[in-house]
C-alpha cells in the first residue's frame, strides 16, 4: 500500500506547520473500509473497548440516541447475508429494468418513479451493488467475526441519525487504532424492510436500524492513504471579506 508514513509521529497537543501526522490523524487518514476478515475471533474485552468509544461520542443535547447490538453468531450473520440477497432479488425484480427489452419498456417508468421517491436509496451506486448482490456476484456483509448493529433512537434531539453516525465513527476509529478492520454497511436497510427480520433482531420502535459496522482482523493490509476530491472552501474573514481556497493541494 502506498504512502504509509512509518517514521516518527508528531506528539499530540502540539502543532507545527507541515509536521508529520500525530497518531490520531494517522488513524483518520489511513482508515480504509475492510471487507475481508480473518476467521480468528475478536476477544469480548476488545469489543467492549470499541463500544466504549461509541458510548462517549458527542450528541445533540447529550441525548445519546443510540443502542448497540453485538452479533458474534456466525450462523446468524450468514443467514442475514442470504436473507438480504433473497430480499434484494425480490426487490430488483420490480426495479431492475435492464434485463430485457420488455422489462425495459414496462419497468423504466416505474423505476424512475421509485427513484424519485427514494433518490438516496436507489442512487446509482447502491443500485449497482444491489444488482451485483441479486446476481449472486457480491456479498452484503462479507462474513465478519463481529457485527455491531447501530440502532438509532428516534426520540433524540435534532437529527438522531447524525448523532448515531458520529457514535459509529468513533468506534470505527478506535477499532482501527487497535489494529482491527471495519466497514460500515448500509445494506442493512434492505434487510430491515422485512418485518420478520426486525422482529428476529428485536428492532422495535422507537429504535430503527439502517446501518451496521462490520469488525474483525483484516485479511491483508489495506489501511493507507487514498486520494480524495479537492474541496473549494469559502472563508469569511473579519470584516466580511470572502475568499475561496482550494483545500488539499
Amino acid at each position: 500500500m502506498a504512502k504509509k508514513p512509518t517514521d516518527g509521529l508528531s506528539p499530540l497537543y502540539t502543532y507545527q506547520e507541515g509536521m508529520e501526522w500525530n497518531p490520531v490523524e494517522k488513524v483518520i487518514m489511513e482508515r480504509r473500509s475492510i471487507r475481508a476478515f480473518k476467521k480468528e475471533p475478536v476477544p469480548n474485552s476488545l469489543i467492549r473497548r470499541v463500544l466504549e468509544a461509541g458510548r462517549f461520542a458527542p450528541s445533540a443535547g447529550n441525548a445519546q440516541p443510540w443502542k448497540f447490538i453485538v452479533v458474534k453468531d456466525q450462523e446468524l450473520i450468514a443467514e442475514m447475508d442470504r436473507a438480504t440477497a433473497k430480499l434484494t432479488k425480490f426487490m430488483m425484480w420490480f426495479v431492475d429494468y435492464n434485463r430485457g427489452p420488455i422489462r425495459r419498456l414496462l419497468l423504466a417508468p416505474f423505476t424512475r418513479f421509485m427513484t424519485r421517491f427514494m433518490p438516496n436509496k436507489l442512487h446509482p451506486i447502491p443500485f449497482n451493488l444491489l444488482q451485483q448482490i441479486s446476481a449472486d456476484k457480491a456479498s452484503s456483509f462479507y462474513n465478519p467475526p463481529v457485527m455491531i448493529l447501530l440502532l438509532i433512537d428516534k426520540r433524540g434531539v435534532g437529527v438522531p441519525a447524525l448523532d448515531a453516525g458520529i457514535c459509529g465513527q468513533n468506534m470505527v476509529l478506535a477499532a482501527h487504532s487497535l489494529g482491527l478492520g471495519t466497514c460500515w454497511v448500509g445494506m442493512m436497510t434492505v434487510l430491515m424492510m422485512n418485518p420478520l427480520w426486525r422482529r428476529k433482531l428485536g428492532i422495535k420502535s422507537p429504535y430503527e436500524l439502517t446501518d451496521c459496522i462490520l469488525m474483525g482482523w483484516p485479511k491483508g493490509d489495506y489501511d493507507g492513504e487514498v486520494p480524495r476530491e479537492v474541496q473549494t472552501v469559502e472563508w469569511i474573514e473579519a470584516g466580511g471579506v470572502r475568499r475561496v481556497e482550494r483545500q488539499g493541494v
Binding site: 506547520e17 424512475r112 427513484t115 424519485r116 433518490p119 442512487h123 451506486i125 451493488l129 487514498v226 479537492v230
Partner: protein
Amino acid sequence: MIDLSFGKNGKIPNYFKSSDMAMGIVVFDPGKCSACGVCVAICPAQGLKFTKREDALKKRLPALMESAPGVTLCMGCGDCAAACPGQAISVKRGFNAGLFFRRLAQEPTVSLPKKY
C-alpha cells in the same frame, strides 16, 4: 413515458445509458500487473473481475465490469489504485451520474491528505 422531472436537473437519469451515466473508468497496465488479485478483492463496488488476456502471455488480468455498454460498476474511489502493489492501476475518470444525480463537482482533481 411519464416525465417526473422537476426541470432538467431534476430528471432521473437512465442507469443503463452511457450518455446519462459517467461511471468511473480505471485502466490497468498489463506490464506492471502481477495478477495478485488485491484490486479484485477490495473494490467496494465489487466491480472488477479477472479475465483472460488475449495476447501470447495468456495471463489472467483484472478488468472492469459493465452493467451496460459504456456503463461500468466503478465509482471512482481510487482504492484499487492505492492498494495495488505494482502501481498498475490509474483512475481515468471519476464517477458522476447525470441529471438529478449529477454532482456539482467543486474540483475535478483529487489529492492525498496534505500536511498543512
